[in-house]
Amino acid sequence: VPPPGGTAIIMPRLLLWYATRLVNYAVVFLVAFTIVFFFLRLMPGNPIDAYVETLAQMGYRIDAMGETVQIYKERFGLDRSLPEQYVRTLRQVFLEFDLGISFLSYPNQVGTLILPRLPWSLWLLGTATVIAWLLGILAGTFVGWKQGTRFDSAVYAVAIALAQVPQYLVALLLVLFFSYGIAIFPSGGAYAANVVRGLNLEFVLSVLHHTVLPAASIVIVSALFWLLTTRALTISILGEDYILFAEAKGLRKFRVLNRYILRNTLLPQVTGFAVSLAFIVNGFFLIEWIFRYPGIGTLLVAAVGQRDFNVVQGIIILSIFTVLTANLIVDLLYPLIDPRIRTGGRRS
C-alpha cells in the first residue's frame, strides 16, 4: 500500500536525505584532512632534520650541509609558514590529485610507495574481515538463539576470554605451532621466494598458502567480537513480539532463525562491517610485521618514524576516503534496506 501522498512525498524526502549525506561527507572529509595535516606538522621534527641526524649517527660528517638542507626544506615546502603549507597541500591534493613526493623514496611520488602495497593489505585484511564477519554473524545468531543452554554458556565464556587476546599474540602462537611445530604453513612473506610472481597456479596457491596464518590471526579474534555482539542482538530480538508470533504460527525453527532473527541482526552489523572493511586500507602493522607481509601498515610506521609527512598524509587520506565513502554508501543504501527511512517513519 503506498503511503499517503504516494511517491511524490517520498522522492523529495529521499533527495534531501542523499543531499544531507553528501554535504556531511564533504565537510567531514575536509575537517578530517585539516586535523591530520596540522597534527602531523605540529609534531616536533621534520623529515630533513631526521635524515641529517641519521647521517650523523652513522658517522657521516654533517658540517656544511646547511645549504643542502635548506634546498630540501624548500622542495618539501617546509620553509613556508604552516597556513601557506596548508593551502598549498589542499590545492595539491584536492585540485591536482597529487599526494606529493616521498622523502623516504625521494624523488618518487607517494603513490609509487602506496600502490604496490595496497593490494596486499586489501587482500589479507579484506579476506580476513569478510570471513570473520560472516563466521561471527552466523555463529553469534546461532549461539544467541540457544540462549540459556550449556552450549551458549560455554561458547560465551570462551568467546569473552579469547576476544580479549591481542591478535599479534594469536599470530605468534600460530606461527610457532604451524610453521615450526608441525611445519605446514610458512612463517612469513606473501608468497614463496622461488615462485614466479604472475597469473599462474603455483603463484596463486602460494599466495593462498601464505595467507592462511596471517588471516587466521585476524579471523580468530575478530570473529569472536562479531559473535559476541551478534549474540547480544539476537537475545534482544528473541524477546520481540514478532518472534513469538512466528513461533505461535508454528513456523519451523530454522525458518524463524533464518528469516526472523538472522535478517534482523544483520542491519546494525552491516554498518560496523562497512567501517571495518574501510579500515583495511590502513593495513595492520603488527600482523604485517610478524608475517613480513608487504602491506600498508609497515609503510605507515616507517613513514611516521622518518616524519615523511606526505606518505603518512597519503595513507591517512586514503583511509579517510574509504571510511567516509563506506559510510556514505551504507547511508545511501539504508533507504533501500529500511523502509522506515524511505517513508520518514510513516507506516506503509
Partner: protein, 577 residues
C-alpha cells in the same frame, strides 16, 4: 549431510596438502647452500636506488652499501690494521694543502670500465656543482680544485692545511669517498639519477629484488678486481638481505639455520643464549660498538652547568659498573674506562697511556677522579653555592635547583635506563631532577632548542672511526650545526688553541704525544661528554651452511653484518660440506 561433511573435509585437506609443498621450498630464491642470509630491521621503501647523494636515493639495509658500493680504504678496527683497497696510499705536500691519492691499478666497475683518478675528480666536481647533493658543502668549502695527474693519480688542492683529509676516503669517512662512475653519471642529473642496477666496484651485483618479500638478492662477481688482491675468489655465491621477523620467529629461524647473520639490535642476548642452547650451529662474536652511552651533551649556558665542577659532579653520579651490568638484555657492556669515547679497539690502544697520565694529573691538580662518588658530587655543588635547603638544593639566589634531562622514550632502552638512574642519583643529593621524554625524531630539534640541562644519549665515536683521539675531542666544532655547538661547547680558549694546534699534527708526528696529552687534559677537565658504558653488540652467526666467521676467540675482523666492511667477513667464509 554426512557425505557433504566428508567432501568438505577432503577439499580442505587437499588444499592444505597442495599448498604445503610450497612451505617446504625455503625462504630464498637461490640455492640455500650457496647463500648467506642476513637480517635487517629496515622497512624497505626504496627498491630501485643506488644514488647515495640524495635523501631516499638508496635503501639502507638492502646490501647495496655492504656488497656493491665500496670505500677506498678501511680500518680493520678489530686488529687496528689499515686496509688499503681501491687506493694504495696518499701523500701530502709539506704544508698539507695538496693531497695526492694513488689509485690501485686494476680496479674496475662492475660493468667492466676501469676505476680511475678521473672518477675521483668527476665526483668532486659533481658535488661542487650541485648544492642539492649531500657532500656539496664539504666539496665546495674544503677543496679548491681537483685534477687527475694520470689514470692512477688524483691531486686535490685543499682550501686550508689539513693533514687528515684522507680520512674522507676511509669507510664512512664522508660523501667524498663514495665515488661515482664517471662514464655512467656524466650527462645525468645526479639529483634524480637512480643508478639502478647499481654500477659500483664491489664484489656483488644485483641479482634480484623481491619487493613483496622485503628481500634483496646479490650475486658474486666472477670478474671482481679484488680477487687479485685477495689471491683468489672466495665467499658465498649469493647474499640475501631481508627484513627480519619478530624475535620469537627469528629465534626459530636461527636455530633451524634459515638465517646466517641475524641483526644484534633485534636478536637480543636472551635470544642468543636460547639459540645456543637449542642448536650446535650458533656461534657468537661480541664486539664493542664505537658509540658509548652516556651524557651526550650538557647545556653549558645554564646557571649550573656553565661550571665544569657541576659537570664533574654529574660524572661522579654514575656507578658505571652497575649501569654496565644493568644493561638491557639486548647487549652486554663494559664500563667506559675514561671520560671520552674510547672503546677498546686496536686503533685506540696507543692513546691509553696518554689518558692514564691525564687522569693522574687531574687528580693531583684538582682532586677530580672519574669514579662513582655521590658525596664528592654533593660537595662540588656546595662549592658552587648550590646548597641544601630542606629536601632540595637551591641556587645561589635562593630558588630551588631544578634540572631537566632530555631523553628518548623507553624504546631507546639504554638511554632511558641511564636517565632514570641519573634522576634518582640527583634526587639523592638534593637536586630536583625531571625527565622530558621526546620522540627520537624530534630529539635533534630539542637539542637545537637548548631547552634542557642534560641530554643523555649515544656519543658518536669519532675518535674510534678515525683512529685518532683528536677527532673525538674536536667533534663539536665541526660535526654539528653551530646552534647546537653554542649550547654544548664550553668556552675555553686554551683548550681550543690546543685543538687548533693539534689539527695540524698527526699522531705519529714527533712531539705529538705531549700535545695530545695537553689537549686531552683540558678536554677532560671541561667534562664536555661523559661516556658511561660501552655497548657490546653480540653478533650471532649460524655455521650450519658456512664456517669461518669471526668469533669470540678469533676476532679477525669486525663481525657486524651491517657495516660496509662485512664483505671482508664474507671473503673468509667457506661452505660446510
Amino acid at each position: 549431510m554426512r557425505l557433504r561433511f566428508v567432501l568438505s573435509s577432503l577439499v580442505v585437506l587437499a588444499f592444505l596438502a597442495a599448498t604445503t609443498v610450497f612451505a617446504q621450498t625455503g625462504g630464498v630464491p637461490v640455492p640455500r647452500e650457496q647463500t648467506v642470509v642476513v637480517d635487517t630491521d629496515t622497512t624497505y621503501t626504496v627498491f630501485d636506488g643506488g644514488n647515495l647523494r640524495v635523501p631516499g636515493g638508496s635503501q639502507w639495509g638492502s646490501g647495496y652499501h655492504q656488497l656493491a658500493n665500496e670505500w677506498n680504504w678501511y680500518f680493520n678496527y678489530a686488529t687496528g690494521e689499515e686496509i688499503l683497497w681501491r687506493i694504495t696510499g696518499w701523500d701530502y705536500n709539506d704544508d698539507h694543502t695538496v693531497l695526492t691519492l694513488h689509485v690501485r691499478d686494476g680496479v674496475n666497475w662492475n660493468d667492466g670500465h676501469p676505476f680511475t683518478a678521473h672518477d675521483i675528480v668527476f665526483h668532486i666536481e659533481m658535488l661542487q656543482q650541485h648544492p642539492e647533493l649531500i657532500g656539496h658543502g664539504l666539496a665546495r668549502d674544503q677543496i679548491v680544485s681537483a685534477r687527475a695527474v694520470d689514470d692512477l693519480t688524483a691531486e686535490l688542492t685543499l682550501a686550508a692545511p689539513n693533514p687528515r683529509f684522507h680520512q674522507n676516503y676511509r669507510m664512512w669517512g664522508s660523501a667524498l669517498g663514495e665515488i661515482v662512475a664517471k662514464h655512467v653519471w656524466e650527462g645525468q642529473d645526479p639529483t634524480t639519477f637512480r643508478n639502478w642496477p647499481p654500477v659500483e666496484t664491489g664484489p656483488y651485483v644485483l641479482h634480484s629484488v623481491h619487493q613483496d618479500l622485503n628481500m634483496f638478492v646479490w650475486e658474486q662477481r666472477d670478474d671482481y678486481w679484488g680477487w687479485d688482491v685477495l689471491g683468489g675468489q672466495s665467499g658465498p655465491r649469493y647474499v640475501v638481505y631481508r627484513m627480519a621477523p619478530p624475535a620469537d620467529i627469528n629465534l626459530s629461524e636461527v636455530v633451524q639455520g634459515e638465517v646466517d647473520a641475524p641483526l644484534p639490535h633485534l636478536f637480543a642476548w636472551h635470544l642468543v643464549q636460547a639459540a645456543q642452547a637449542l642448536s650446535d650451529h650458533v656461534v657468537i662474536a661480541p664486539f664493542t660498538d664505537p658509540n658509548p652511552i652516556g651524557i651526550y651533551a650538557f647545556n653549558v649556558t645554564t646557571e649550573l652547568f656553565q661550571h665544569r665542577e657541576a659537570r664533574w659532579a654529574i660524572a661522579m653520579l654514575f656507578d658505571r659498573e652497575k649501569l654496565a651490568s644493568l644493561y638491557p638484555a639486548a647487549e652486554s657492556s663494559t664500563p667506559a674506562p675514561f671520560p671520552w669515547p674510547a672503546p677498546n679497539w686496536g686503533v685506540m690502544q696507543r692513546f691509553v697511556p696518554i689518558a692514564e697520565r691525564v687522569m693522574e694529573r687531574l687528580e693531583q691538580d684538582y682532586d677530580l677522579v672519574f669514579e662513582y662518588d655521590p658525596q664528592r658530587a654533593g660537595e662540588l655543588l656546595d662549592s658552587l653555592g648550590f646548597v641544601m635547603d630542606g629536601r632540595f638544593r637551591v641556587t645561589p639566589s635562593g630558588e630551588r635547583l631544578q634540572v631537566v634531562l632530555l631523553s628518548r622514550p623507553a624504546t631507546a632502552m639504554e638511554e632511558f635506563y641511564l636517565t632514570q638512574d641519573l634522576v634518582e642519583e640527583l634526587r639523592n643529593i638534593g637536586v630536583d631532577a625531571t625527565i622530558r621524554t621526546v620522540d627520537p625524531g624530534a630529539h635533534a630539534d630539542f637539542l637545537r632548542s637548548g631547552d634542557y640541562d642534560i641530554a643523555p644519549g649515544w656519543i658518536e665515536g669519532w675518535s674510534a672511526w678515525t683512529g685518532d683521539l683528536f677527532t673525538g675531542m674536536d667533534n663539536w666544532r665541526w660535526a654539528r650545526d653551530q646552534v647546537i655547538t653554542d649550547w654544548v661547547w664550553p668556552v675555553n680558549p686554551e683548550r681550543d688553541a690546543l685543538l687548533d694546534q693539534l689539527s695540524q699534527v698527526l699522531p705519529d708526528d714527533p712531539g705529538a704525544d705531549e700535545l695530545y696529552e695537553e689537549a686531552l687534559y683540558h678536554f677532560v677537565l671541561d667534562m664536555v661528554q661523559i661516556p658511561v658504558a660501552e655497548k657490546v653488540f653480540v653478533q650471532t652467526f649460524s655455521n650450519r651452511y658456512w664456517t669461518g666467521w669471526p668469533t669470540e676467540d678469533d676476532m679477525w675482523q669486525v663481525p657486524y653484518q651491517w657495516w660496509p666492511a662485512f664483505k671482508f667477513v664474507l671473503f673468509g667464509l667457506t661452505p660446510v660440506q
